[in-house]
């Protein structure tokens, strides 16, 4: 089972949105064919700013309505700080912030 579980533990940081200019890379929503420069905001907001309307709910990471597959790239969980670079990984758009290039099936 452990090979399926990737965990990294950080001390809980403040929820931070990385819009200070530290954000790099391209965000690609491959299903819709949209692409945008990574603004450092959570993926749900970046999708909406790109004109998409992904299904969503609580916008705070508890309801799983916005779960989509991240094809490639690294995201940071805005609540825990946890980084995850796995391919074909289900993520919650509302609390996932791209770190570098990401490709989302959305």
């Amino acid at each position: 089972m452990s090979e399926h579980l990737h965990t990294e533990v950080f001390t809980p940081p403040e929820i931070e949105i990385d819009t200070s200019g530290g954000a790099t890379g391209q965000v690609r929503f491959s299903h819709s064919g949209k692409e945008t420069l990574n603004s450092g905001k959570p993926l749900l907001e970046q999708a909406e700013e790109a004109g998409l309307k992904p299904e969503h709910g609580c916008r705070m990471g508890i309801c799983f309505s916005c779960t989509k597959v991240k094809n490639t790239g690294c995201v940071r969980n805005a609540l825990t700080g946890e980084l995850s670079a796995e391919e074909d990984q289900e993520i919650q758009l509302c609390i996932s912030v791209p770190v570098g290039d990401v490709d989302i099936n959305c």
Binding site: P12, I15, M60, F64, T80
Partner: protein, 384 residues
């Protein structure tokens, strides 16, 4: 009653939120093999009970066998509905990547379609918990469960509607996502409910076909007995789940909130509302499992996406945090909580004193009594 945000200072509420976040991080980091083994064990038990129940129906002509069949099937449906269904569909096991435990695809053995329920429960109920006019679980669109819901003569039937809902709870939940109250008020258009209705029809057909046609027919001449047995098992599950669920937010002292006081909530404030708006039920280990750990409604509302089996182990910590910040921690045995809910249902059926006084006042004051006075569905007076 002080306002929601008067309970703690802004600094306190953020510290309070951080303490709860720490519990969350710790539990999430600890999730692993044990949780997977646990849920698999529960699922195996549920399947075993269902097979036993449906098999015993073949001996249904022998009353003790029929009773045992109904007992086993009821237990199977309760486990499927609560410890398995509700929790898996919350996403509590999505981290395992096991397809059978994926919240988006899991379907439970009850009439409500998973997709519809996920929307109204995971998103609407858990985000807007106990906010009157936003959380439709406050009254479910058919009951008056809070004094802030304006009274209307319709609510004189509160105890009757509650009883009917309990008996037919499976269908009440199925119906809930049609949002009939919003259709009646015009907020929602019938055409907008097409997808929801399609799913409702499909799932209802499947459940009726399964419990009331296929399995009875499979027992040949015993079909009527099997049908009665399956209906009884559904009834038992309905009554049990209704009772547990109604104890989650309706016992006296559990608070509801207005839209204004919950605007722009921080995470700490959201946690605070979840605690003030939820109630636990005390009991033993088996009780907790059979209630799907909704006996730990407070912990569930703080951490809805963490496996429910973890709630008992963090309950004392959560309670200690509540005590530290001088916050209530609502809990009690099932009988007392249920009695409290029953009292609420009956007392809210009656018009509030203010309403009666205003009726009397109009006639006494010498003002012209309006030719006709009607009350809209929200209990507000409108001129004819």
């Amino acid at each position: 009653m002080t306002g929601l945000q008067d309970r703690l200072t802004p600094e306190q509420v953020e510290e309070f939120g951080r303490e709860l976040d720490e519990i969350r991080q710790r539990v999430v980091a600890d999730l692993g093999k044990e949780d997977v083994e646990y849920i698999n064990k529960i699922i195996k038990t549920q399947r075993g009970l269902e097979i036993a129940g449906r098999s015993l129906m073949y001996l249904g002509f022998f009353p003790p066998a029929w009773l045992a069949a109904v007992g086993a099937l009821s237990a199977s449906k309760i486990l499927d509905n609560m410890e398995i269904g509700h929790n898996v569909m919350h996403g509590q096991y999505d981290w395992t990547r096991i397809p059978e435990l994926n919240s988006k695809t899991f379907e439970w053995d009850t009439a409500a379609p998973g997709d519809n329920w996920r929307h109204s429960h995971n998103y609407l109920h858990h985000t807007h918990t106990n906010i009157v006019d936003k959380d439709r679980d406050v009254g479910y669109g058919i009951l008056r469960m809070d004094a802030d819901q304006p009274w209307h003569p319709y609510y004189l039937g509160n105890p009757v509607y509650a009883t009917l809902l309990a008996i037919f709870f499976q269908w009440g939940v199925w119906f809930h996502d049609l949002e009939v109250d919003r259709l009646i008020s015009g907020e929602l258009k019938w055409s907008e409910t097409q997808e929801v209705r399609k799913k409702m029809r499909a799932k209802a057909g499947k459940q009726i076909g399964k419990d009331y046609v296929l399995f009875p027919l499979l027992t040949g001449p015993l079909a009527p007995l099997t049908l009665a047995g399956n209906a009884t098992a559904n009834l038992i599950r309905n009554l049990w789940s209704f009772s547990i669920i109604f104890c989650g937010h309706f016992p006296a002292d559990v608070e509801t909130f207005t839209e204004e006081e919950t605007e722009n909530e921080t995470r700490g404030q959201w946690y605070l509302r979840q605690i003030l708006g939820s109630a636990n039920i005390s009991g033993g280990k088996l009780f907790h499992i059979m209630s799907g750990n909704l006996s730990h409604q407070i912990e569930h509302h703080l951490f809805p996406d963490i496996p429910a089996r973890r709630y008992p182990e963090i309950a004392h910590e959560v309670r200690a945090i509540c005590e530290k910040y001088d916050l209530p921690y609502h809990t009690g045995p099932l009988s007392r909580q249920l009695a409290s809910v029953a009292v609420k249902i009956c007392s809210l059926a009656l018009p509030p004193v203010g309403y009666l006084k205003s009726l009397v006042g109009r006639h006494k004051s010498g003002d012209a009594v309006p030719e006709s006075t009607t009350v809209d569905t929200q209990g507000q007076r409108v001129a004819a």
